[in-house]
């Protein structure tokens, strides 16, 4: 792909895909349950969730391979009901890549263009442009069977991009690649999306992939959309324990609501005492009980006599070394579960003996309130 600085392409606020109350039932089972979502033009949008959460079903309905039992989907302002896959302004990169094995790379990329009957070498020019976009220049004559996994993935990408779709749909495109290649492709995909400016909708079960590439993420569980927000918001302000848990480690602390007003909550906890936190916009109280969450990396070990405005004291019960970081499991008096703490090894966290009494600093801002 052409080297260029990663710039944030300004997004328009025009909706590209509108999903309204879409349900997809198979008998009594609802693969997708009353999902509503607006994806903006030029956005890199991810559908994130465990397998069976309905993310692929939703993607396939946008592509036209499946139809909603109820609800509506529109792309570019045009309702998609009754429009088959071959007449939709979307193109898809399949999980298996679906490279035509009887055609070479060039023929694969030109497959969709053939029907357009382009004049005077336009087809050839567009194929070459697409191959250049995915760094496959010169491999046009290769057979699909002679390509590596990463190259096949690029062919699938070029074959879809060459159609200049309004929306590019990607179904777990990186799941078959090894870790290193996957990380490289994450960067390239993001860069490519910024360069072409097409709306990308990515389906993935890998939270890091979604966090690294997306403008916004929809987290899905059991056919329902749990939260739609930017990667940072999703990570820092998950709406419930399920979302928090799916996006990496999170310590959960039982809390009791003492005071609730427009923007903040005051809760009592064991271990952290009385805490005042921001009230998330989506917070809907459910009785007096609530849960506070804090990410392991938002707890910092206090060395020697250092003090912090907010701290908890405890005892290290386990230590796990992970190269650049160390995981400490710290028991706090009053807490039913010990806290998990991630500390960089710069200051010797990897040398803290098990059994040591330590103090941990935290920022009340990092405590996120979740309704139980």
């Amino acid at each position: 792909m052409p080297e260029q600085p990663q710039t944030e392409r300004p997004q328009s606020d025009r909706p590209m895909i509108e999903i309204r109350n879409v349900t997809r039932s198979y008998g009594a089972f609802k693969a997708l349950d009353d999902a509503s979502l607006t994806i903006k033009e030029g956005e890199f949008f991810s559908l994130l969730g465990p397998s069976g959460c309905g993310k692929t079903t939703l993607l396939r309905m946008i592509a036209g391979f499946d139809n909603p039992t109820s609800g509506s989907i529109s792309v570019g302002g045009q309702p998609m009901e009754g429009i088959p896959a071959n007449r939709r302004p979307t193109n898809m990169v399949f999980q298996s890549y679906a490279i035509f094995p009887h055609l070479n790379v060039e023929q694969n990329v030109a497959y969709g263009l053939k029907r357009l009957k382009l004049q005077g070498g336009e087809e050839k020019r567009r194929v070459e442009e697409a191959l250049a976009q995915v760094s496959l220049t010169g491999l046009g004559k290769r057979l699909a069977t002679e390509l590596s996994g990463g190259q096949r993935q690029r062919v699938a990408l070029a074959r879809a991009l060459v159609m200049r779709p309004k929306v590019l749909l990607l179904d777990e495109p990186l799941s078959a690649l090894d870790k290193k290649l996957r990380e490289q492709m994450q960067v390239e995909l993001r860069r490519l999306q910024q360069a072409v400016g097409i709306t990308f909708v990515l389906v993935t079960h890998d939270q890091y992939e979604a966090l690294a590439m997306s403008d916004r993420i929809a987290v899905m569980f059991g056919g329902r959309i749990a939260q739609v927000a930017s990667p940072k918001e999703i990570y820092q302000r998950p709406v419930n324990r399920q979302v928090a848990d799916f996006l990496g480690g999170m310590n959960f602390v039982k809390a009791e609501i003492v005071e609730e007003n427009g923007a903040s909550l005051v809760v009592d906890t064991l271990g952290f005492g009385r805490v005042k936190t921001d009230k998330p916009k989506t917070f809907v109280r459910n009785g007096a009980a609530a849960t506070l969450g804090i990410r392991p990396e938002r707890l910092r070990v206090l060395w020697d006599n250092a003090t912090a405005k907010f701290e908890v004291a405890g005892k290290v019960v386990e230590r796990h070394y992970f190269g650049e970081i160390t995981h400490l499991i710290v028991e706090i008096p009053g807490l039913e579960k010990p806290l998990s703490v991630t500390e960089t090894n710069d200051f010797g966290a990897d040398d803290i003996p098990v059994g040591t009494s330590i103090r941990l600093a935290y920022d009340p801002e990092a405590l996120v309130a979740m309704a139980d």
């Binding site: 592509a63 391979f65 071959n86 679906a98 035509f100 094995p101 009887h102 029907r115 074959r159 159609m163």
Partner: protein, 274 residues
Amino acid sequence: MTAARRFLAGGWLPAYAFLYVVFLYLPVIFLPIFSINTAATPKFPLTGFTLHWYEDLPRTPALLDAAWNSLIVGVSAAILSTVLGILAARSITRYRYPGRRAINGLIMAPLVLPEVIVAISMLLVMLQLGLSLSLFTVVLGHVLVCIPYSMTVLTSGFEGFDRSLEEASADLGESAFGTFRRVTLPMVAPAIISSLLVCFTISLDEFIIAFFLTGTDATLPIYIWGQLRFAAKLPGVLALGTLLLVASFLLMTIAEILRRRAARRTQNEGGLYA
């Protein structure tokens, strides 16, 4: 075990393998050898080389009729069983439904049924239906025995056909018919041709069912059977047999090459009857 191992280690394994192959192919080798011998009786020592028996073949009208009949029956049976095979193989490889395995088993069963029983049963059915015996009834009989072979070749070609290939084609704007023409057909064409060749070869060589189900028209194997009564005709039969042998061998080889190619396209490995 150790005795067996010592036996094999003592250089007996190559000898055993050699005898094995000789046992399989010696009878087949006799056919071409005696077909170019000048003597009318198949006996060693050979008396001399001649192509006389081959030259006589095209001058025998009954043989030409039989060959023509075999061609008609073979082509019809091949096309019919391949079409039916395609439908069944597609259903079995593509869809999941209750009874799928049982149906597959039932379709493959004629492969192991005694042919003479199948022939008699078919004869009874044909007579019950009031069909007069003709080449048409032979075709029906051959379709029955060909379908398991056709299924085997076709399922091996269709298996592992990634459904997303057809979806990708639709996604790229191609219609259902266009997808069939540009993706499905080219992918499975080698398997289909392979099935046609296998079925034709089986029909060409099949004797018992043809014998029971034909009326007055002879196919090549029936013609050969008829000729065996006359000792003087034997070398001609051997020559004809040799030609059939060569034809069958060539057709089956091409069929297997095509089947392998088809299986490779759909990224699926397996032997002929796997």
